[in-house]
Amino acid sequence: MAQSATGGKPVRDVGALRRLLTRPELAAVAGSILVFAFFAVVAGDYGFLTTAGAASYLEVAAQLGIVAVPVALLMIAGEFDLSVGSMVGAAGMIIAISVSEYGLPLLVGVLLAFAVALVVGFLNGYLVIKTGLPSFIVTLGMLFALRGLTIGFARLLTGRTQIGLGDSGSGVMQTLFAGSIGDFPVSIIWWFALAVLGTYVLQRTVFGNWIFGAGGDANAARNVGVPVSRVKITLFMCTAASAALLATIQVLDAGSADVLRGTLLELQAIAAAVIGGVLLTGGYGSVIGALFGALIFGMVQQGIFFTGVSTDWFQVFVGVMLLIAVMFNNVIRRRAAEAR
């Protein structure tokens, strides 16, 4: 129509490249390439470029990424979960105590851990919705409470804070969670699978549309009929469940649980999501970005390890990366919001 609001306006054809340059995960993908190139040069001679090297940084990335994927979804929905790290510790302890102290089958221990995680996730979500307090505060409370409960109960029930799994000998479970294909642990497959699933849900399902809506403007979304509370509670349950999955993988891999497992994981997961282009205030971001965010973490951590430089420098590197990525992401987002 000639008199239309935009139709009559002269427009530049910006094309596919420009569109690509406004993707939220751009910084994380570019960052991954840069970090890889950097360590290929610096640590290439020390094994960074071997399959074993790749397996080692992919494993680190996978363990973070398994949690970072649902954390990214939750952040896009406008909420934080600071309790995932404590949840990893708690879930690991539940598995180890059920198996080694109470002689329950491994599968039962794992199911128990997932059940507790889902309850904790539900509680997080329910408290956030009911109290109207920021999830940052509610889950910060849960971070302390859960860690405290884990340590307290571990001491109470076993007198220890580290518990071996004993001889579990459950072949299927071992293969499923702690097996490997060549040099590569299966956790990498879990990570990719979750990222693919997360991307599908976010981009292609109705629930995904609701996630963007809940985070973009919860009130507006509610007014057009989105069950915002249900969306958020579901995602809190997903982040907690991902922590239980990671705990299962870690416990079976290490053969033991430790009450301090997962310490600082919540912040790393948020950092991975933010590097991946997720907006801190919600409503914008991608799961693929979070996948690459986790990959960057893995490559930096293992890359520094391979170079032989003290791993103390890892955190400096991560901190700088985070700042650069966030500044970069701001530019991209502003451009996306203007792109016609």
Binding site: T205, F212, G216
Partner: protein
């Protein structure tokens, strides 16, 4: 065709308090099929609050809502939407960073596939969004561009197109023309007219007495949370309507003149409010 005297929707003595704030006090009005009911009143009169009760955002503190003569209670906007009430909110209820077609369908997404493979039908959403916006005079190049890239008027048009597209029985528009130019406003009024002709009940909030007079069949005027009465189109002139919309102060002056009492112009809110409650008999 539905008989004109069966209201599609009624507010029966609805009051709404926010803590100590009395946003609405004992409001009764009804919405009839195939008619445009204009809701008029000054800023802060309670218009938006009332239609938020209609659309399930708020629940009345006192009184009740009725659909087709039957009392109902909407616990959420979803309930109202499911009962066929579509609303364009004053703040438009759009998600700024989300694409236009995703915004258009949020809450009522078309799906394709079955069972666990049921997914958001992005193609269909894009196509319908394009078609519907074409109808209201907006041609899109890219339906995935964020709503934040649209002008205020374009955004308003998208919100209206969305509500009309989904509007089953009742369409509520809260100041839909406030950000629009003359041409776009005329487009919206034409839209409202077409909707009315389809037998849909329209609630139209506006500050423009011209728009109200052109399109409205009936008028309900609010002032400070009270109703100044409901009028049929033939009952009031545009000038009278304008005076009513000013919120009672003007009306009081008018009444004073008629009674020849010659009271001062400095009517306080208190006076305006008491005026509001008696004016129904005057009208």
């Amino acid at each position: 065709m539905m008989a004109n005297d069966t209201p599609l929707m009624e507010a029966r003595g609805v009051s709404k308090y926010f803590g100590r704030v009395i946003a609405l006090e004992d409001i009764s009005m009804d919405v009839k099929a195939g008619q445009v009911t204009c809701l008029l009143g000054d800023n802060g009169a309670g218009k938006s609050t009332l239609i938020k009760i209609f659309s399930g955002v708020h629940q009345p503190t006192k009184g009740a809502m009725a659909l087709d003569g039957e009392e109902v209670r909407f616990d959420s906007p979803r309930d109202a939407i499911d009962r066929g009430i579509a609303t364009v909110f004053q703040d438009l209820a759009m998600i700024p960073l989300m694409g236009i077609s995703r915004n258009f369908f949020i809450g009522r997404e078309p799906t394709t596939g079955v069972g666990p493979f049921k997914r958001f039908d992005v193609k269909k959403a894009d196509r319908i969004t394009r078609e519907e916006l074409d109808k209201i005079g907006i041609t899109l190049r890219d339906t995935t561009q964020p709503v934040s890239t649209l002008s205020g008027g374009e955004r308003q048009s998208v919100a209206i197109a969305r509500a009309v597209y989904f509007g089953a029985k009742i369409l509520i528009l809260d100041e839909p023309t406030s950000a629009l130019g003359v041409k776009q406003s005329a487009m919206v009024l034409r839209y409202i007219n077409r909707t009315r002709q389809q037998g849909i009940g329209v609630v139209f909030i506006t500050h423009s007495v011209h728009h109200a007079y052109v399109i409205g069949d009936r008028y309900t005027v609010l002032s400070h949370g009270h109703s100044l009465g409901s009028y049929e189109k033939g009952e009031v002139s545009m000038a009278e309507l304008e005076k009513l919309m000013a919120g009672g102060k003007e009306l009081e002056k008018l009444e004073d003149e008629l009674q020849g009492s010659g009271a001062t112009n400095g009517a306080s809110n208190e006076a305006a409010r008491s005026e509001g409650s008696t004016s129904e008999t005057v009208g």
